[in-house]
């Protein structure tokens, strides 16, 4: 009896949790002619890949729905791949900057009991609390004067403070598990700390770097607000912005936008499914014993 109850709850749960995403997947393989009907079907008459083909070839959008086609800077189907590229490059910049900064920072926090280390944690904790909206406008003005608006590097720089707070606990937590005897042996052999980090600590911490890299990449990939405000040209707009513009541009063509949404959701979803274990421990600073 109890078992049936459990299964019922789990079933309802799974339906509630997954049906919107399932609908999105179905919509993305529905023919665009579905637009013209007023009663949406959730199992389309036929399945088609025409939406994905439109995204990747830049053409094949159903007529009669191009509200903003003439817009100079909006991202349409023609530039979807460009937005994809922008997202990837920005995320890679963010990963590079974040991992480089946190590799050394985590070493310091893990290995050296220096005075004020708790205040460092406090500082990082406060940064995590920060509402991005409070910072984005002055950031826009500062970046403007530095010529970093509409650049992937500028956008990446704006993400780094937040991704550092994500990556630091992960790396530090892992460094903590590497025995300090290794440090001492290296020091006896005449290794400088930097060399030790590069040649010994980093190779040994590959899993942590992987997890931190994934958090960082995903955070950058998903980010919306900064991208909205700090970019306004094709060459820098990232996928989230492209999707939002798609929605304005191809107003009722939700099958096309759904395909775009599925493409942009793929990476975060796959990462999450594969690396679930790390997610909990990483976000709880690895400090709550599990």
């Amino acid at each position: 009896m109890r078992k049936i109850g459990t299964y019922a709850i789990i079933l309802c749960l799974m339906v509630f949790t997954l049906s919107p995403f399932a609908w999105l997947l179905v919509a993305s393989v529905s023919p665009q002619s579905e637009l013209l009907t007023d009663s949406p079907r959730w199992i389309p008459e036929k399945l088609t890949l025409e939406n994905y083909r439109a995204l990747f070839t830049g053409s094949g959008v159903a007529k009669g729905d191009l509200a903003m086609e003439k817009s100079e800077t909006a991202i349409g189907v023609k530039n979807f791949l460009l937005a994809l590229k922008n997202s990837i490059i920005t995320a890679l910049y963010v990963m590079l900057l974040t991992l480089a900064a946190t590799a050394t920072g985590s070493y310091a926090l893990s290995r050296i009991k220096f005075r004020g280390y708790r205040f460092c944690y406090l500082f990082f904790f406060i940064i995590r609390m920060f509402p991005a909206i409070s910072v984005v406008i002055p950031l826009f003005l500062i970046m403007s004067s530095l010529g970093l608006i509409n650049t992937k590097l500028g956008l990446a720089l704006s993400y780094v403070p937040f991704t550092i707070t994500l990556a630091l606990p992960v790396l530090k937590g892992y460094f903590d598990t590497i025995p300090t005897e290794l440090d001492e042996a290296a020091e006896i052999d005449g290794c400088t700390p930097l060399k030790m980090i590069w040649h010994i600590l980093i190779p040994l911490s590959a899993p942590a770097f992987l997890a931190a890299g994934i958090f960082t990449f995903t955070a950058s990939w998903n980010e919306f607000l900064f991208a909205l405000i700090l970019t306004s040209t094709y060459s820098s707009k990232t996928i989230p912005i492209a999707l939002a513009e798609f929605n304005d541009m191809y107003v009722r063509n939700f099958t096309l936008t759904a395909a775009g949404a599925v493409v942009s959701a793929m990476i975060p979803v796959i990462f999450t499914l594969l690396f679930q274990k790390f997610i909990v421990s990483g976000l709880t600073s690895g400090s709550v014993k599990s």
Partner: protein, 307 residues
């Protein structure tokens, strides 16, 4: 004598090294976070309205006064509170319930545990767009489903009702974030040794008693972390509201974050927007200060004052 000096010399060098190693992180954070904040503070005390570009210069507290006199500020404050309290409490309660369910033995448990995180993993854009289509009054699937089931006779524009729209926005936020709480609490539940629960059963405890007296206290650290993280994320909410309702209908879902945005980019009044930003930061700072008084939080995030 010589040995003492060299030891403290080494210790001092280590200290310097530590700060040096942290410099890249600190510099990046300074320029992209601290500096803008300071700049924002300055702007909040000046007149900076793009609609009236001739009015420049120091404005003292007039921006702040204008904000406190503005009914839409108080509206936004109220809505933000409803949003945060509503979504976080639902996330915690439902998330814990889900964790309990996922902790049971059943076939397909591994799959369920993996797939449940999908809403949380989705980019906020995707969540916003998907739900805005589902809830659409003209072609939404929800309407389609209810119509086919005979529950409604015509399509309802769900997001056009002010109070209901706020409820729906909270619902979508809960849909997205609850899985994270569930997985977090699941990790906590799994760390409870079975013997403790078994001996309680032997001693005659009912499952409710077991839950409230043994399980809950033992998962308190996880609960605290979940509560903290979810509250922070709820205060930062912007993306979902931008995509679902744009603060509407009739400002019914205009949280403080969105108001700051529309004040700056809609009304072009950067001065008052900066003042509002600062007020938001002040509110969050008070929240953080309150959080810091909790020993559980200090221990979980390794903050000053933890044992």
């Amino acid at each position: 004598m010589g040995a003492e000096i060299s030891i403290s010399g080494r210790a001092r060098r280590k200290q310097t090294l530590a700060w040096l190693l942290l410099t890249p992180s600190l510099i990046l954070m300074f320029f992209t976070l601290v500096l803008p904040m300071v700049f924002q503070a300055v702007v909040s005390f000046t007149k900076h309205n793009m609609m009236f570009p001739w009015e420049k210069g120091f404005a003292g507290l007039s921006n702040y006064v204008a904000v406190f006199r503005d009914p839409s500020f108080w509206n936004a404050l109220r809505i933000t509170l409803v949003f945060v309290v509503g979504s976080v409490s639902l996330e915690i309660i439902l998330g814990t319930g889900v964790a309990v369910a996922l902790n049971q033995e059943f076939r397909g448990r591994g799959v369920a545990r993996a797939f449940i995180l999908i809403p949380w993993a989705l980019p906020p854009v995707v969540v916003g767009l998907t739900w805005s289509w589902i809830l659409s009054g003209s072609f939404g699937v929800l309407n389609g489903l209810l119509y086919e089931l005979g529950l409604i006779h015509e399509y309802i524009p769900w997001l056009s009702y002010p109070r209901f729209a706020l409820f729906l926005v909270v619902l979508v936020e809960v849909w997205k974030s609850m899985p994270f709480v569930a997985i977090l609490m699941l990790a906590g539940l799994q760390s409870i040794p079975l013997e403790v629960l078994e001996s309680a059963t032997v001693d005659g405890a009912t499952s409710l008693q077991r839950f409230f007296r043994i399980t809950l206290p033992l998962v308190r650290p996880m609960l605290v972390v979940g509560l903290t993280l979810e509250t922070i994320w709820a205060f930062k909410a912007f993306d979902l509201i931008y995509l679902l309702t744009k603060g509407g209908p009739a400002n019914a879902t205009e949280v403080l974050g969105y108001l700051i945005y529309s004040e700056a980019f809609g009304k072009l009044n950067f001065g008052t927007s900066a003042a509002m930003s600062f007020i938001l930061v002040a509110i969050i700072s008070i929240l953080v200060a309150v959080m810091l008084t909790s020993r559980s939080i200090r221990e979980a995030f390794i903050l000053p004052g933890a044992r």
